[in-house]
Symmetry: C2
Subunit: 187 residues, 2 copies
Amino acid sequence: MSPELREKAIREAAIALAHESGIAQLTVRTIAARAGVAPALVAHYRPSMDAFVAEVFGAIVAAERDEVMAAARMAEGLRPRIASIVGTLLDDGRDDVTLVWVQAWAAGARNEELAARVRHEMDAWQHALDAIVAEGVRAGEITAERADGAAWLLLAMVDGMNAHSLVKWAPEDRAGLARRALAAVLG
Amino acid sequence: MSPELREKAIREAAIALAHESGIAQLTVRTIAARAGVAPALVAHYRPSMDAFVAEVFGAIVAAERDEVMAAARMAEGLRPRIASIVGTLLDDGRDDVTLVWVQAWAAGARNEELAARVRHEMDAWQHALDAIVAEGVRAGEITAERADGAAWLLLAMVDGMNAHSLVKWAPEDRAGLARRALAAVLG
DNA sequence: CCCCTTGTTGAACGCACGATCAACTAGCGC
DNA sequence: GCGCTAGTTGATCGTGCGTTCAACAAGGGG
């Protein structure tokens, strides 16, 4: 197999594995088994596992963000878009990506390379949300001062809720609660 | 040394270690080294490491909760109390307990014994906060319907913010942002 | 047709993990 | 002072980790 294809296969095996079991399960051996390849070949294409883990994390959360933001932009107006984002992020069955995020925060406390990648992806989230809010301000749907901090609140609330859901601790209708809280802040 | 004292020493060594490096660093060997004891002795007093980790997690977060709630009850009135809780929980220098929480959520996704303990401690948080809110409702400081979900919102927001802080991703004055969000919800 | 490049492998190293168990030792009761 | 109980230890097992490297195999260029 050509190096490009083999690299792609290994990368996709790692991404699939991280979706199933989290980035903590990413080891040379598990990735190799998943790709149907000898462990040494994984190490050959990715000499540093730490860097590979950071790469897989980035790929997964970037794909998630693109998907969520694309769905949000199908809606018209600030509040429907925010409702869409909250609804999608809090949808059940997203535990796979949540586990990746929570493991990344935990591991990032002691792994600066991964932490830098996490900050980068969180900045991208913040900017994407700020862009949505800024459009609402321009359209006169909300005042700039009320909008300040809304993106950050959304991220903190959703991330906290999802972290809780990893141990199956959640109120009924958490999406409704989150929407009510955001509505109160946005006015 | 008597079994009771030895057990206490090992337990406290584990708790100190978890404060410094998180519960992921709790191994038979690291705890033994910290307690100045042979690894086998740790295994002797705590035959299952999974159970020991859950126990240490519970001890750490229960102590934190008692401390935070005691400080809150020094204040008078619903809003000052909530401001106290938010301020304490979002104070810098709490990364040690935050790391314990985030690692527990991550590990709890694949370790049901720990997950059960996490749920138990989160229930205790929820009940403690609900009690504060209920006092505010009784005192007429707030209507019952407005108060509904406030405890949960506070937990989700604070936990999300603290998770973010593990990779040093935080806005300036996050406590102020959190207080504003809660004020908007409480009316 | 042979060789040589290149993708790939198996084996090994050193380390760390939880768990187990026979052997040691200190101190108390007799 | 002797012996037994009970706390403690060192050694070891099996497993899994990242990393390294000599050796294998396949396929195209000369």
